[in-house]
């Protein structure tokens, strides 16, 4: 019997911890965020299902933002195909091949950043692994989460994957050029479903193929960048201390 409290087991110590399990990732994400702020880079974490059109959106973005410097990191399980497509579209890109990991985390992004010159970059797009579940859990240090939802995925995806859409700052409804062939998919129902998981749903319908809606998306990017980095120039004088 325990002499102190009579609990019967002298060696058992209860410890009240109350720690976020992902605090390590949060620290790394904060470090990345500081890095982006120093360079005046607006970073977008672009998520969505496999085949939702993430890479096509970025290709169209490059065509719409020719006066800006873009860079990208492309997360992929097994190939560097997306990175090759983005490089061909004129976006300097580093592939992050995750092997079996279903998402990017802040540390993977940080390591890839060492291979990317952020000086004179205006926008960094992190194309996450195609997946509507896991990537939502990990903060990468981005300014905004943007989710690509293609009309061919159906109206109910926001309700089926509430965590992903709840964390989205903006939803790009992609492939709207296919809507005439999909009478059962209605944009207003997608909006209604988003309003059930996002308190302030922000939705931009677009087609990377016809470029319908791309100007709205580009305008959103420019507005947010001006808002975040009003000077438009990087504060290169600030010292940046790298962790180990």
């Amino acid at each position: 019997m325990c002499e102190t409290c009579g609990c019967g087991d002298p060696g058992l110590v209860p410890v009240e911890v109350q720690e976020k399990i992902l605090s390590g990732n949060e620290r790394q994400a904060a470090h990345n965020r500081a890095h982006f702020a120093e360079h005046g880079v607006l970073t977008i974490n672009l998520m969505g299902s496999p085949g939702s059109g993430k890479t096509a959106v970025l290709e169209a973005t490059a065509r719409g933002l020719t006066h800006r410097h873009l860079a990208a990191l492309a997360g992929d399980l097994a190939t560097e195909r997306d990175a090759e497509r983005l490089t061909a579209a004129g976006i300097p890109c580093r592939a992050i091949t995750t092997g079996s990991a279903c998402h990017l985390d802040a540390d993977l992004v940080h390591r890839a950043l060492h291979h990317l010159d952020l000086h004179a970059v205006d926008y960094l797009f992190v194309e996450n692994v195609g997946n509507l579940v896991c990537p939502a859990v990990y903060d990468l240090g981005q300014a905004y989460n943007v989710v690509a939802l293609s009309v061919t995925e159906g109206e109910d995806k926001p309700l089926k994957y509430p965590v992903m859409f709840h964390r989205a700052d903006l939803v790009l409804v992609t492939k709207i050029d296919l809507l005439p062939y999909l009478p059962e998919v209605r944009l207003e129902v997608i909006r209604e479903n988003l309003a059930r998981v996002m308190p302030e749903p922000l939705v931009l319908p677009l087609s990377a193929r016809t470029e319908l809606g791309i100007t709205d998306w580009v305008a959103w990017l420019e507005r947010e960048r001006a808002h975040r980095h009003p000077s438009g120039v990087a504060a290169h004088g600030l010292a940046h201390q790298h962790g180990t």
Binding site: P10, G11, L12, V13, P14, V15, E16, V17, Q18, E19, K20, I21, L22, S23, G24, N25, A101, C102, H103, D105, V133, C134, A136, V137, Y138, P162, V163, M164, H166, E192, A195, R196, V197, M198, P199, E200
Partner: protein, 115 residues
């Protein structure tokens, strides 16, 4: 399935706590998982059961407290029901998540040798 990554991070916290307290084993692990955290309690449990073998947690059962998503009005604080539009029924302002996105290590029970 990212629950293995979550358990890896969890093990890191537990090992740090065990070192700090001079523990030789962990006897119980209690976590809190929100409904909108993106972590599935059952998948977390099976990942934990696979990964705890041969670790300091080999003899530590895991208890998971699920936390339901609760929304409230950003302006007036009135509670907003899930399932409908996430707007305040009283004043129309957008809701904010009050609880339900936590991924938390709450408590441990450590086996500490007498000194």
């Amino acid at each position: 399935m990212h629950e293995y990554s979550i358990v890896q991070s969890l093990m890191g916290h537990i090992e740090a706590q065990a070192r700090e307290h001079g523990a030789i084993a962990v006897r119980h692990v209690a976590v809190r998982i929100g409904e909108l955290s993106g972590v599935d309690p059952e998948l977390l449990r099976s990942a934990y059961d696979l990964m705890r073998e041969r670790s300091i947690c080999a003899a530590a059962p895991l208890s998971v407290t699920p936390v339901a998503a609760r929304w409230a009005c950003r302006q007036c604080g009135a509670s907003v029901a899930a399932g409908g539009p996430l707007r305040c029924p009283a004043c129309g302002a957008p809701a904010r998540l009050v609880s339900g996105d936590e991924i938390l290590l709450e408590r441990l029970e450590l086996e500490v040798p007498d000194v």
